[in-house]
Symmetry: C2
Subunit: 374 residues, 2 copies
């Protein structure tokens, strides 16, 4: 169909094993897990447990952590933020955040919580880490940070933030939507309270999967409640994880696909090197402004503008004239664009996956060169 | 593997077209809908819109209604109940409800709302409709009813409840988890405010699908908020449906499967007649207590007990000795068991699907006969 460079939204191309794993479930006879002791139910249960173990292994999570599945990272972030933050609590976040973090925070603010935003530099989007220290308060309960910006591809200095939160005694919540599967996440030091992830981006699983890997003792009240198949007479959701955050029926075929995706990721090399090549060549094109920090580790997400053109116009030309799929606009991260200085026109985002080839990147560079010369 | 009679939990057997539709998406190149104007994104968008149209057609929903997808009926019920009911509001519900309704109501009660429960007769589980009139109050905002009990298979007299709510001017919310696809639901009179449904039961779609078909003008505040791909600078979730209730990425492969499932359902006959046969023969087995009302229209869900045995013991024997998968216990519907008189031991639930055969039913009857003779 063309060249797909919108992998930060979803990896449209999946390993063949993912479709096979999902179809296998739907062609088989897999019941609703934990809702009956018959073999069909146990078969469904085992699929969920396999995916759970894959996530725990991926994040080097020990027995202090549990994995709860949701249908996407957004629900996971809502469950953790709204489940943890009470009126009167204070939160520190960054201007890198996606609306899946910002909108829950605005809702919590309306209910009496408060939050402060650590901001970034123009153009590079480099985070000013000193502001964490300036913004901490006695009532600060949590820090929520994007592990990598979905606009610039900049990566958080996770070690720095972990140490900060550890010293201050506040919960650290990580949005790993852009990193899980492509950047190692190691929970073995116990300094991260919760990692929210999506299954359908760099874990190459199906859409409809995601979740949170969180410390078992986090004082979380569930947002969504319902059946758990076990403690029917309890008026409240059972406190045990994952049941606490898994009301209703899980996406078992999706989780089979997610497990296959993670398996595939663990057997691959990452696309980071092709990203470096892309950046190196991109710099040579006159008229292209590249946003982001290229002096630190990053993910293969690139935001650009060409001369003074609207991002929507450039993105449309790339699709219509070259069949190159990119994403224009604000990428659900309004504060990032205020920081970058692109709140007027957004950016054209090009995001790579493991399926992106050098030949495709060369075609993209050629197209950008042509557009910049117009 | 055996005989699967736990279809009220999930239809483990799906039409072949469902797996094919899901695999087709995962093998293709489908982007994130509404998050870019490139072809991959539009292809994803079209999958969601096809499923949306199928649901609207199924429920004869006109332009006053919209469909929002969630990952299961539980999330849909949470979104509608918690989005609509404010502190001070009153709700009428029934003892047929699943914990996906009761637990949200207990949470709302803790926040200052209140609710009353219309109760049922012992053994038959027949609802006492007069109580609706007795329990209505000036502050009653909504009535939430299970369209069919997942314990007894009894069907709600939806026309009666529709007229009641219409006359009283209160919102009617229907939990169609056990009925969508097997009992016609007609929204064309505009008397139902919202129908919450699951995709993975009698619509034969994959787990990980569900949603709500609701009136566009319902005053709902979203529970889950996040990115919408369009109005990035808005601090609140956009008010337009379905965006209001669809924060984050949709389960596009799942929705392709759901559309295929609905298509299949619309081309099939229902399993109701086999259910009548099962009931007719079941009555002949001495020592079997059958719960439910068999004088009114129903769905093919049967709750029984054998002599004074624990439901868990009977269900385990059915699986271990006969490879018949049933479900014992309370089926996440505690108040139903209090009404039926089975709060001490639950019931053995046997639920049919379109894949259930007469030969299977005969084997099940034989097994029950043997167990009852022990």
């Amino acid at each position: 169909m063309g060249i797909y460079l919108d992998n930060a939204a979803t990896t449209a191309q999946k390993p063949a094993s993912v479709a096979e794993a999902v179809a296998h479930i739907l062609q088989g006879a897999y019941g609703n897990p934990s809702r009956g002791a018959h073999g069909y139910s146990l078969a469904g249960f085992r699929v969920a447990e396999t995916a759970r173990k894959k996530i725990k292994d991926l994040f080097k999570a020990d027995h202090h952590y549990e994995v709860a599945f949701t249908n996407n990272a957004t629900v996971a972030l809502n469950e953790v933020l709204k489940g943890l933050i009470q009126p009167g609590d204070h939160v520190i976040t960054t201007d890198w955040e996606h609306n899946s973090v910002l909108r829950p925070l605005y809702q919590l603010e309306a209910q009496g919580a408060s939050f402060d935003v650590v901001t970034s530099e123009a153009v590079t989007g480099r985070l000013d880490y000193e502001q964490f220290t300036q913004k901490i308060r006695p009532e600060t309960k949590a820090v929520i940070c994007n592990h990598a910006s979905n606009v610039t591809g900049n990566r958080l200095d996770l070690e720095w933030v972990k140490d900060f939160c550890d010293k201050q005694g506040v919960y650290l919540i990580i949005d790993a939507s852009q990193t899980a599967g492509v950047v190692p996440i190691d929970l073995s030091d116990g300094k991260v309270a919760a990692v929210c992830f999506t299954g359908h981006k760099s874990l190459y699983g199906p859409q409809g999967t995601g979740g949170v890997c969180l410390q078992k003792n986090l004082p979380i009240e569930p947002v969504i409640t319902g059946g758990d198949g076990m403690q029917s007479f309890s008026k409240v959701q059972p406190k045990e994880l994952p049941t606490l955050l898994e009301a209703g029926t899980l996406n078992i075929p999706g989780l089979a696909g997610l497990a296959a995706g993670i398996q595939w990721v663990q057997e691959q090399h990452s696309e980071i090197d092709l990203g470096s090549y892309f950046y190196q060549e991109l710099q040579k094109i006159a008229g292209v402004t590249i946003y982001g920090d290229f002096t630190s580790p990053r993910v293969a997400v690139f935001s650009i503008n060409i001369k003074d053109a609207e991002s929507a116009v450039v993105s449309e030309l790339l699709w219509e004239d070259y069949q190159i799929a990119t994403r224009p606009g604000y990428h659900c991260a309004p504060l990032m664009h205020e920081a970058l200085g692109t709140a007027d026109r957004g950016t054209v985002r090009l995001s790579l996956s493991s399926f992106t080839t050098k030949a495709e990147i060369d075609q993209v560079l050629e197209a950008l060169q042509e557009l910049a010369s117009r």
